[in-house]
């Protein structure tokens, strides 16, 4: 997609808009001893219409749990441990009764999952599954919803929608299945699309197609996309802004070009440095971040990254750095940041 053009549009049009999605102090703490498991630890961010925010981090950093908490898709007992505020278009989601929340799911906000094979019901045809949101939310009958399902399949670039709609998931390729998942998610033109590792299970060539499709749909529908991935390359090409998560917290947030030009948090910098680059000498050793992410029950008192950080000072071990504005559109949680 033409990233620069999209960014320009965001800058001119969206800055004045109120955010579509506003997440404040989102928390998922599981009671445990000696200290609670801090799976998501005070995540806050805004997402505007037509904008893609990339949420990036290693596995276990809390990205998926953040997404599931926003969608309120966690099951008990986890669902009871979510705290914080999530407002979608001014509607506070966390306090909605389940019946009202389920009326929004699939309509105002919907989700694309990582594994398109297991996320589709094997005993129903793809068309039936794509038709369901339209029947549930738009009050369409089975025939009208079926026709709309084929229309959605055409929209996501499937050349023979009638045949695919009548097929069961196991007969389709991975890329086709993910297209079907996306068709299902956008069937009611949601304002917010949460895509949790939408391309991780796919071949590299198919990955690019799917991401391009998401970008096109965004331009067409004007949806905001929360793109969750561990793959920085995906973020670089498809997001407008990026939030880096580490151990349940956002540690740095910036427009994507600024982050790639100069990450200021040592963790973000390390993450960027560990991307393999073709121009590097062949025998060069890939830089890695020493140590491992502390588990959700063993978070240190100060900055979670302090134990692995070369720049850590006494303050880093004692006090959690707050996520504060570092520059317009940039936030940073670090006591000793690098220069941008």
């Amino acid at each position: 997609m033409n990233f620069a053009a999209a960014l320009a549009r965001i800058d001119t049009a969206a800055v004045t808009q109120a955010p579509l999605l506003s997440v404040r102090s989102l928390q998922l703490h599981l009671p445990s001893s000696p200290q609670p498991l801090r799976l998501v630890d005070g995540v806050s961010f805004d997402l505007r219409r037509g904008e893609t925010l990339g949420l990036v981090g290693e596995s276990g950093s809390g990205k998926t749990l953040t997404a599931l908490s926003i969608m309120r898709l966690l099951e008990p007992p986890l669902s009871g441990c979510v705290h914080g505020e999530v407002a979608l278009d001014g509607v506070e989601l966390m306090s909605l009764p389940e019946s009202e929340m389920s009326a929004l799911r699939g309509r105002a906000l919907s989700m694309v999952f990582q594994e398109p094979m297991t996320s589709l019901n094997p005993v129903m045809t793809v068309g039936q599954q794509i038709a369901e949101p339209s029947m549930r939310h738009l009050g369409l009958g089975a025939a009208a919803a079926g026709a709309r399902a084929e229309e959605m399949l055409r929209l996501v670039g499937i050349p023979d929608p009638a045949r695919v709609a009548a097929s069961h998931p196991h007969l389709l390729s991975g890329g086709m299945r993910q297209r079907a998942m996306i068709a299902m998610a956008i069937a009611c033109r949601p304002a917010l699309l949460v895509a949790d590792e939408p391309t991780t299970a796919l071949d590299v060539t198919v990955q690019a197609q799917i991401l391009e499709l998401l970008g096109e749909l965004q331009r067409e529908l004007g949806s905001a996309i929360l793109l969750i991935t561990h793959d920085l390359a995906v973020i670089a090409e498809n997001a407008h802004r990026v939030a880096v998560m580490y151990a349940g917290r956002i540690v740095e947030e910036a427009p994507v070009d600024l982050l790639f030009a100069g990450a200021r948090h040592p963790y973000s910098r390390g993450l960027l440095a560990s991307i393999p680059r073709i121009e590097r000498a062949r025998l060069d050793i890939l830089p890695e971040i020493p140590g491992v992410v502390p588990g959700p029950g063993e978070r240190p008192a100060g900055c979670s990254f302090a134990l692995r950080c070369a720049r850590a000072s006494a303050r880093c071990h004692a006090e959690v750095p707050p996520l504060a504005a570092a520059a317009p559109g940039r936030r940073l949680a670090c006591w000793n940041p690098l220069d941008g």
Binding site: A103, S110, T118, V123, E132, P133, H170, M181
Partner: protein, 317 residues
């Protein structure tokens, strides 16, 4: 589909041959032998026994006997009973309706109630209801069936005098539907109790398995109601293992309500088997064995067809 059926039926042939050889061999090895019953009869002399031996073909080598008996299975001549000399197949088929009726009603009750308990238990895992249902099933499975049968007779037939204690009809009321239904209630409930206990456990684990699948989360993400999620998404997936189990268990259920049929004097296959066993009626026992084997094959075939109808991945092109 027709090719699939034909192949499955062809696969059944060696299985049936195997079952018949083992069954025939076991009966042949059983002490006493088919003529033992006559030696107890003082009016029968040695030359009579020799004559019967020739008449029954028992003087011929084992493999000839087997060939004669097994070829009869396919032509419908399953041999004759020792007592009364009646055709075995007729004796067995005569008992089928009574067993079908009892099993059909008990299974219907058990599957409906068992499924309901299982679904509720799976959706409200570890709730008070789930814990009660689980322990209730354990209790029902721990007590022997005959105890439940005797208690039911004691309470409902002897003390309360609401229902008859056994048989299918009152004397002189043969053929009356009302009388039949009254006689059906107690054995159905006793049999259903045990089957419900098992099936509620099967249903619970099948539904738990289905509810934990990724596509159930997708269904929630679409905003579908609990009812639609359970009926349209979870149910067909949970039904697959249950149908497979039913295919295996059904034949044994039909051939084997031994205890219940005996306690309630229900003239079905279970009682025929018990009677034939005590009277050393080898032709009937071997006939019932073959009957059960055929039922197992048919039951599994039906289950495979039903599962293939639900799950397109299992359809053979």
């Amino acid at each position: 589909m027709i090719k699939f059926l034909l192949r499955r039926l062809l696969q059944a042939v060696p299985l049936l041959i195997g079952v018949s050889i083992i069954g025939f061999g076991l009966m042949h090895l059983a002490p006493g032998g088919p003529l033992a019953v006559y030696t107890l009869n003082p009016t029968i002399q040695a030359q009579d026994i020799e004559r019967i031996k020739v008449l029954f073909g028992l003087d011929q080598p084992v493999h000839v006997q087997y060939a004669k008996w097994s070829s009869g299975i396919f032509t419908g001549n399953w041999g004759y009973t020792f007592f009364g000399g009646r055709p075995v197949l007729g004796v067995i088929l005569e008992r089928v309706p009574a067993t079908m009726l009892l099993m059909g009603s008990a299974l219907s009750v058990a599957i409906v109630v068992g499924l309901a308990i299982g679904v509720l238990g799976a959706t409200r895992r570890y709730s008070v209801f789930d814990i009660l249902a689980t322990s209730g099933a354990l209790v029902a499975l721990s007590f022997p069936t005959f105890w439940f049968g005797l208690m039911a007779i004691y309470v409902f037939a002897l003390e309360l005098r609401w229902l008859p204690s056994g048989g299918m009809w009152e004397l002189g009321e043969e053929g009356s539907i009302l009388s039949l239904l009254r006689h059906l209630i107690l054995p159905t409930l006793v049999l259903a109790l045990v089957i419900t206990a098992t099936w509620s456990r099967y249903a619970r684990s099948a539904f738990l398995e289905a509810l934990q699948q990724d596509f159930m989360r997708t269904a929630r993400a679409k905003g579908l109601s609990l009812r639609v999620r359970l009926l349209r998404h979870a149910f067909p997936n949970a039904a697959k293992p249950l149908i497979a189990l039913l295919g295996v268990e059904l034949p044994f259920l039909f051939s084997g309500a031994l205890v219940t049929e005996t306690i309630f004097a229900w003239p079905g296959m279970g009682r025929l088997f018990v009677d034939a066993l005590t009277m050393k009626e080898y032709p009937i026992l071997m006939g019932m064995m073959m009957f059960t084997a055929i039922f197992v094959i048919v039951g599994n075939l039906l289950a495979d067809i039903a599962i293939a109808a639900i799950d397109p991945r299992l359809r053979l092109s």
